[in-house]
Symmetry: C2
Subunit: 199 residues, 2 copies
């Protein structure tokens, strides 16, 4: 009985020395376990988001197709920088991928110290901004890709995917990758909200 009460006392006194933990030792241990699990899952999701964001930027950035015939005046060629929306997509998605890489240290801080509120709060704010940027790039590119596939008879914008099939396929893949990134971001924000709640 004496040794058991000592075993309970030791973590409590050490946490008081750090000056941050709540007073009830049992509930603190419970919360720590949840927080760490959420932080590890956050880290894994971030790795997945890096993969999809950089894949989207790379696929869009390398999308290019030259048709095997040409007229006297010009060669038929399609590239992502023919369309400003696709340029924006490459820049924004690469930016989001870079942010995700830089956010990994903060995510690791969340694993090491599940109770630290500051990094978690910073992550949720930056994630929200990155989600907005990523969604805007993906949706704008999706609108243009839809137009490239289907055209629009009302405005006399003709579909170009009959001619530039490979280009359209690659661009569509980039858009899909970007929308997957957006879904991962939503999960990241929800996870962070749950992690914040546990304090």
């Amino acid at each position: 009985m004496k040794s058991e009460s000592a075993a309970i006392d030791i973590p409590e006194s050490s946490s008081v020395a750090k000056g941050k933990a709540p007073l009830i030792a049992v509930s603190r241990d419970e919360k720590g376990g949840y927080g760490k699990g959420i932080a590890i899952f956050d880290f894994i999701l971030r790795l997945a988001a890096i993969a999809t964001a950089l894949a989207a930027a790379a696929a869009m950035g390398t999308s290019e197709e030259t048709l095997p015939f040409f007229t006297q005046f010009f060669q038929f060629q399609a590239s992502y920088d023919d369309l400003p929306t696709f340029q924006f997509f490459v820049i924004a998605t690469a930016f989001v991928g870079g942010y995700l890489v830089l956010s990994l240290p903060l995510s690791i801080v969340g694993i090491v110290r599940p109770h630290a509120v500051g990094p978690r709060l910073l992550l949720i704010i930056l994630d929200t901004v990155a989600l907005t940027l990523n969604t805007a790039a993906g949706a704008a590119a999706a609108a243009i890709v839809y137009l490239a596939h289907n055209g629009n008879p009302n405005t006399n914008w003709l579909a170009i995917c009959q001619q530039y099939g490979d280009f359209c396929q690659k661009v569509s893949g980039a858009v899909v990758a970007s929308l997957i990134t957006a879904v991962i971001f939503v999960f990241l924000i929800v996870l962070s909200a749950f992690a914040l709640r546990r304090h």
Copy 2:
């Protein structure tokens, strides 16, 4: 000295009776004040977001222009439902506006009970989804509006805003309103994250 210690004791014992407040009475009062302020600001921001979201949906939904001349074959007319992206914009933005109206009761619960975690957590999750939907609609419409203004010589998509100036102006206004809604949503999510942290 005696009366002062009694004044400190009274809120502490009443909070223990509710069974939810932390043990240190002073910090609890501080937290309650912040939480209520955040909740009221959240409610006001939500009212602003309702206004911009519904204005965006209404402006886009009523955008229509008939040119004052016609050929033998057809009359020149532009309307939002000529372009699928604009249709999506109207539906998504009206949906977001409806969600915002329905979220007001939850926001009021946050004002009445600043310590309730459940409504706050539900709001942050739904807000994130609504932000994504709203941003997607706004960005997609922005891409098409840009095309309508400037055209794209590489794909032979001609600008239509020379002919349909009023239509373009109304549509651009709707896009701007939708992007303002997105900014308000980012603030709402950040506010909710701060409110969650205070528990």
